[in-house]
């Protein structure tokens, strides 16, 4: 069966290092850390007191106050990054057939903070049930896609995917598959997360998953470094406009790149720890390459999951070693999370934006804070530790792995006729 080719024609982002694609990309190229003391709540009693929050975000500039009251911060981020992506796509919203446009977002926890706040006030008020009628529409993750369809009248496929830190990768993958099958012409996709709250920080602290480098927080997210001590929580969103090539060509759209393959596997090892042999992670990368008809030797760059945890970073490196063999030392490797922190379900979306900018500009952003490469990782691998690397970038993998054992790999290519 001959599938349609799928291209990316618009991007938007709101991240801890920049509130739009241009600022985000500049931040990444300049090695800016998004980490800072937590402002969303008073973290004094917590083991971890810093995170990568979105800064200077004046949501009232984008969303009417009345609508805002019904949206958790995660839905607000998704809406704002989508506004940027749609504008960037040059899509004529008056002319386009909105029945052929879908919205599929990924989010690991949806409106977690709204849920927590509501539970706190319930208990504070002597457990008297006085819940806001807006509460559940703020808590449910699916309204992230719902709000976007409402605002723009996009009446195609509409839902969210949830696979923890791989959520947006599943959303982008689903969007690609539906477009290939002809179920829509355009899908607005991406990921969003806004879970820097007491429960998430406390819960991840209880798992010893977060860095506690409170006195030196800009150096806390240090993927692959021997002194890494856990991930740093991030928040934000990114949106990709995925479109069938025929539709994009017919309207003369600019094309950032082509999404050519998706690999998806499950670890079947442990509910949080990655399988140390990286077998299923490796299979995920192989499946994505198979899907795209790409040989391992053709891959130029892997944007790694690289969260800065001891086990996760190592398992991913073993998976890359087993997938690429000697070619691994020729790859450019990096971790966007060294600067943005871990945006959980939104990570794969902002990382896809970084990849598409790399293809456009032929430059790969650095992995910051990598001073002493973990001795268990091959020392001749290139993690772009000394700054951005200029090289022709044609074929890129994006790895994302989630608690629960979800592995997703996306394969992007430079668009050529």
């Amino acid at each position: 069966m001959e599938f349609q080719r799928i291209v990316i024609t618009g991007m938007g982002a709101i991240t801890p290092v920049g509130n739009n694609v241009a600022d985000f990309w500049n931040g990444l190229l300049n090695g800016v850390s998004g980490a800072a003391p937590i402002t969303h709540f008073d973290p004094e009693k917590f083991l971890t007191r810093f995170a990568c929050e979105v800064k200077n975000f004046v949501v009232e500039d984008y969303i009417p106050k009345k609508t805002l009251a019904r949206m958790d911060l995660c839905a607000q981020f998704a809406m704002v990054s989508t506004m940027e992506a749609l504008e960037d796509s040059g899509l004529d919203l008056e002319k386009v057939n909105k029945e052929r446009i879908g919205v599929i977002f990924g989010s690991g926890i949806g409106g977690f903070t709204s849920m927590m706040d509501s539970a706190i006030s319930f208990i504070d008020n002597n457990r008297t049930p006085r819940f806001s009628p807006y509460l559940l529409i703020k808590v449910l993750g699916d309204v992230i896609s719902g709000h976007i369809s409402l605002k723009y009248g996009f009446s195609g496929p509409n839902y969210i995917t949830s696979s923890a830190c791989a959520s947006a990768a599943n959303a982008i993958g689903d969007a690609m598959h539906l477009l290939q099958l002809g179920k829509a012409d355009i899908i607005v996709t991406g990921g969003t997360e806004a879970s820097i709250n007491e429960t998430a920080i406390g819960g991840f602290n209880a798992m010893y998953a977060l860095s506690t480098r409170n006195e030196d927080y800009t150096h806390a997210s240090r993927p692959f470094d021997s002194e890494r001590d856990g991930f740093v929580m991030g928040e934000g969103a990114a949106t990709l406009i995925l479109e069938t090539l025929d539709h994009a060509k017919a309207r003369g759209a600019k094309i950032y790149g082509e999404l050519c393959g998706v690999g998806m596997t499950a670890d079947t090892f442990h509910i949080t720890a990655p399988a140390p042999d990286g077998k299923s992670a490796s299979a995920s990368m192989r499946l994505a390459m198979q899907d795209a008809g790409v040989q391992p030797e053709e891959v130029d760059y892997i944007n790694m999951h690289g969260t800065s945890t001891q086990q996760g970073d190592l398992a991913e490196c073993i998976a890359i070693q087993n997938t690429f063999g000697d070619h691994a030392e020729k790859l450019l490797l990096n971790s966007t999370k060294s600067m943005t922190g871990h945006l959980l379900g939104a990570g794969p979306a902002i990382e896809s934006v970084a990849i598409l900018k790399s293809i456009q500009d032929n430059i790969v952003h650095p992995t910051i804070n990598l001073n002493h490469l973990d001795e268990r990782i091959p020392q001749n691998w290139n993690f772009c530790a000394n700054g951005p690397v200029r090289r022709t970038i044609n074929t890129v993998l994006s790895n994302s792995f989630g608690f629960g054992g979800h592995n997703v790999t996306l394969l992007y290519k430079r668009y050529t006729e």
């Binding site: 106050k65 009251a69 807006y134």
Partner: protein, 80 residues
């Protein structure tokens, strides 16, 4: 009365993003002020908090206009 009206106007204007001067007793929440059922339910919570009252379900169901809300609030305040 005018104090209640003023408070109610502020709450409604804030919740529905409309001009307080447009919030007059004859205005319908849904037809004139753009409220849906969720907004109306949320405003009842706001009224309860602002006036220290508890609005029974059957009272809520009869509120269609700003005037209806004011009447209900006055009645409940008188019963306090």
């Amino acid at each position: 009365m005018s104090e209640i009206l003023e408070k109610v106007q502020t709450i409604i204007a804030d919740r529905l993003s409309v001009n307080p001067a447009d919030v007059t007793p004859e205005k319908s929440f849904s037809d004139d002020l753009g409220a849906d059922s969720l907004d109306t339910a949320e405003m009842v919570l706001d009224f309860e908090n602002a006036f220290g009252i508890k609005m029974p379900q059957e009272e809520m169901e009869n509120i269609a206009t700003v005037g209806d809300a004011i009447n209900a609030i006055e009645k409940l305040l008188a019963e306090k």
